[in-house]
Amino acid sequence: MIEVVPSEGGVVPAAVEVGLVVNGEARRLVVEPRVTLLDALRERLGLTGAKKGCDHGECGACTVLVDDRRIYSCTTLAVMQEGRRVTTVEGLGTPESPHPVQAAFVEHDGMQCGMCTPGQVVSAVALIAEGHAGSEDEIREWMSGNLCRCAAYPGIVAAVRAAAGGAS
């Protein structure tokens, strides 16, 4: 079935209905096609955990999981994720029971300003699942898509290592 969503006179972008499973919950929203997944999460679903640091796929603050794989939500459109499972930092744990990666970031102080932290945390969750937490060098290579301007990198690496069970 081909879905064609026409625009009205080419001026006002047409809206498209999108269904996403966000943090385990089925959500439907109507967005313009040009709306990024990041903007849809932040502005339409009120999930402001993923951050907009560069809007360019160059900083990692917007990292989310789509069908368990980490991607930059600023360089994909919401409509392209129809039917997919999206996990943001808000979906990882609860205040009472944080995800082990979240707990490790607090424990090892893997942050300062915290603007990159949601992206770092989500990226680290994926990295561990991918099996890339074997050594500190490997963690560095596979965390290199998430910038931290405060350079809390030693704490970040320690947190990932600890969360992956490699704390020594």
């Binding site: 640091g53 160059e58 944080p98 979240q102 970031f105 102080d109 915290g114 290199s144 301007r149 990198y153």
Partner: protein, 741 residues
């Protein structure tokens, strides 16, 4: 989402000297910490800024007609709509809120649009017709003072001369050099953002990411033509600062739109606009001459330093004073001649960035020390130690350094650390070029370099530098609870943690709530100059002392440690507000640069080990070790975080970070081409922290955040020089500088 930031009530234990978890940590890892860009208000509209595409041009006309016709547009404003004074600035009021007849840099704000959606605002901005008459920009900092005047008083913002000792000295060995520092960006990860909400009393409430609420408040009120009490600021979550949020960005703009439309207005810059939206680190050209005896004792230092302030002054004057007064580094020199100039050009405006003038001078004087060591055939660490200042040394300003200055000790500490082994495996990640597979060891040469630096802590030159803290204790549900309130900005450095630690230590209360920072309390001063633990920490400590005095009165002379405070207080509340100042400083003599201008000095030393692919000019920093005196590490983990962060930003300046301009235009306003270090670029650091208390400072603390930014850059460049044998007089060092192509 609430506009008011959460009170930080996380009740982790731990007084000073421990490293409790930061009270905002759980919010940050859950994505619930509300940054300014996350704020939302019912019925809010969006503000956008039309900026000049030209570095220097006369505005012939502005036609808003078509923009106003765009459906969804609420307001289009120009300089004619600025209600109050259309000039602001940190030191000199020289920058228009919106340009009037002329634009002096690419990206200068010309008009504002308020619309129902950012997309609508973008469409409207494209319909604003601005006719420019393009003028020839002034871009050379060394000749700018004699070029076309860009401001009424000419292009010299400030000249600071330093004259100490003999002015015609001679020496056995003389080395000279010309050095250049490129324009570095703070590149905080959270671009400028804020939300202005019009209030029923005709005033405005601004929720903003900034470094200094009260200086923003004053400037905004002046531009709006309002009394201070009508302009109320609350700090939102700040996504990094590093100096780049000390000046105004969209503060006045958002308030103007809010007052004009009577609607809440949100403004958020994107990354490209952020490069135009804040000041950068001053690029510099530095001419140095060092004279020394044959056994390596410095006889004299002469320097002429040029700092490019760009189109508006911002904090150029203070940056000039820093580069001048700290211009010989942490060394004893009897004869000093320094002239430091800050100038206007049509380049992007420059102001505060971590290290603030000391970074530029540090690269030059440390390069000179290496050159001197080379000329003398001495070890570069030995020549530094031979001249290292100590407590009691006299600065080029005549000021006596009256607390610890362990320069030689810091150098010895980094020198004595074991060296990392040369990599014997073919792991691309350990090679210059990394997984890009540029070498399997070919052309790779190891180099080791050292540097040490000096930074003033707190505001200088007679500035009335203080902070205000309020501490309140009461019994809630049978538990003693303290609450601390200041206007001092938490930008990620961990001030909120330190405040809790101080209150716990001073009052013995475990549960400490930090109230949101806002202008309902007095000035907290700037989160800059490595000063908040010192000054706001001092204010919180003093407020706790005032609370203790009150409690002692309630206790009627009994020893408080033997009193049950819960019982003593009952339903009473003790609430004390204190304004706390560090010791006064003096202005510099305008002819000689003499005076007790600084409060405190901080020192750090680095050893850098690098592998350089000398054929490709690629650099891998293998290890970056640091030793720093922090007086008293109130929170050891936070201290390490500051040293790691400062060192990383120094690494960035050494090998990759530069805003490149051409004819005043920025060529790389994106994270694609303005590169900051990734986790793979930042090497392991071994850090030694000395705690030599400063008797003049609360708890003996010494500012931590900036010194490591100063010595990191020259240590890395020295290591690259050691590997290549090249002079390398400019940072960042580019591959071309190493390959000579």
């Amino acid at each position: 989402m609430s506009l008011t930031p959460a009170e930080l009530t996380s009740s982790v234990t731990g007084g000073i000297g421990t490293s409790p978890q930061r009270p905002d940590g759980n919010l940050k890892v859950r994505g619930e910490f509300a940054y300014a860009s996350d704020l939302w208000h019912e019925d809010m509209i969006w503000g956008s800024t039309l900026r000049s595409p030209h570095p220097y041009a006369r505005i012939v006309s502005i036609d808003l007609t078509e923009a106003l016709e765009v459906p969804g547009v609420y307001a289009v404003l120009t300089h004619e709509d600025v209600p109050g004074a259309n000039l602001y600035g940190l030191e000199h009021k020289d920058q228009p809120v919106l340009a009037v007849d002329v634009v002096r840099y690419q990206g200068e704000a010309v008009a504002l649009v308020g619309a129902d959606h950012p997309e609508t605002a973008t469409r409207a901005m494209k319909r604003i017709k601005v006719e420019y008459e393009v003028l020839e920009p002034v871009v050379d900092m060394e000749t700018a003072a004699d070029d076309t005047p860009l401001h009424p008083g000419g292009n010299l913002v400030r000249h600071v001369p330093i004259r100490r000792g003999g002015q015609a000295p001679t020496a056995d060995v003389v080395v000279t050099g010309r050095y250049e520092v490129g324009m570095q960006d703070q590149a905080f990860l959270g671009p400028e953002s804020g939300l202005a909400v019009p209030a029923e009393d005709g005033g405005v409430d601004l929720y903003i990411a900034t470094q200094w609420l009260h200086v923003d408040q004053g400037q905004v009120a002046s531009a709006l033509g309002m009394p201070l009490d009508k302009v109320r600021l609350t700090l939102s979550g700040v996504g990094g600062a590093f100096g780049g949020r000390e000046d105004l960005s969209m503060q006045v703009h958002a308030c103007m739109l809010a007052l004009h439309t009577r609607k809440p207005v949100k403004m958020v810059y994107n990354r490209e606009e952020s490069f135009y939206g804040h000041v950068h680190r001053h690029p510099a050209v530095l001419h140095y001459e060092h004279g020394a005896t044959n056994d390596g004792k410095l006889v004299y230092v002469k320097a002429r330093i040029f700092l490019d302030g760009g189109a508006y002054a911002s904090s150029t004057g203070a940056v000039v004073a820093n580069a001048a007064t700290l211009g010989v580094g942490p060394y004893e020199v009897d004869n000093v001649t320094i002239d430091c100039y800050g100038v206007y050009t049509n380049n992007p405006p420059c102001g505060a960035m971590r290290g603030f003038g000391a970074v530029q001078a540090g690269f030059a004087y440390e390069s000179q020390m290496d050159k001197l060591a080379d000329a003398l055939g001495m070890d570069p660490v030995d020549v530094r130690i031979a001249n290292a200042m100590t407590e009691g040394s006299v600065m080029p300003t005549g000021q006596v350094v009256d607390s610890a200055a362990p320069v030689a000790q810091l150098l010895k500490l980094v020198k004595d650390k074991p060296l990392p082994p040369v990599s014997t495996t073919l792991d691309l990640r350990s090679m210059p070029g990394g997984v890009s597979n540029t070498t399997h060891g070919e052309g790779v040469v190891r180099g080791i370099g050292y540097a040490v630096g000096i930074k003033n802590v707190c505001f200088s030159e007679g500035y009335d530098d203080y902070s205000t803290a309020r501490v309140r204790v009461q019994v809630i549900n049978g538990e003693l609870v303290a609450l601390a309130h200041t206007a001092a900005c938490e930008v990620g450095q961990g001030l909120v943690t330190i405040m809790q630690q101080i209150v716990r230590t001073e009052l013995g209360v475990q549960r400490v709530t930090i109230l949101p920072m806002d202008t309902s309390i007095g000035n907290g001063g700037s989160t800059s100059a490595s000063r908040q633990t010192y000054v706001t920490g001092g204010a919180v400590k003093a407020a706790c002392a005032a609370v203790r005095d009150k409690l002692a009165k309630l206790a009627g002379g009994r020893d408080l440690s033997e009193v049950d405070l819960v019982e003593l207080l009952g339903d009473d509340v003790v609430d004390e507000t204190v304004e706390w100042r560090h010791r006064a400083t003096e202005p510099l003599d305008p002819e000689t640069g003499q005076g007790n201008a600084h409060v405190q000095y901080g020192f750090a030393a680095h050893r850098a080990v690098v592998d350089v692919d000398v054929e490709l000019g690629l650099v891998k920093v293998v290890e970056l070790d640091c030793a720093q005196d922090v007086g008293n590490a109130l929170n050891p983990q936070a201290v390490l975080g500051q040293i790691q962060g400062g060192s990383a930003q120094g690494l960035g300046l050494a090998v990759m970070e530069e805003i490149q301009t051409s004819g005043g235009k920025v060529r790389n306003p994106s994270f694609t081409d303005y590169l900051i270090p990734t986790v793979l670029d930042m090497p392991p650091m071994s850090i030694d922290v000395l705690e030599l208390a400063d008797p003049n400072a609360p708890y003996g603390v010494r500012g931590v955040g900036e010194p490591p930014t100063i010595s990191s850059t020259p240590a890395i460049v020295a290591a690259i020089r050691a590997a290549t044998g090249l002079a390398l007089t400019r940072v960042p060092v580019r591959p071309e500088h190493i390959t000579g192509t």
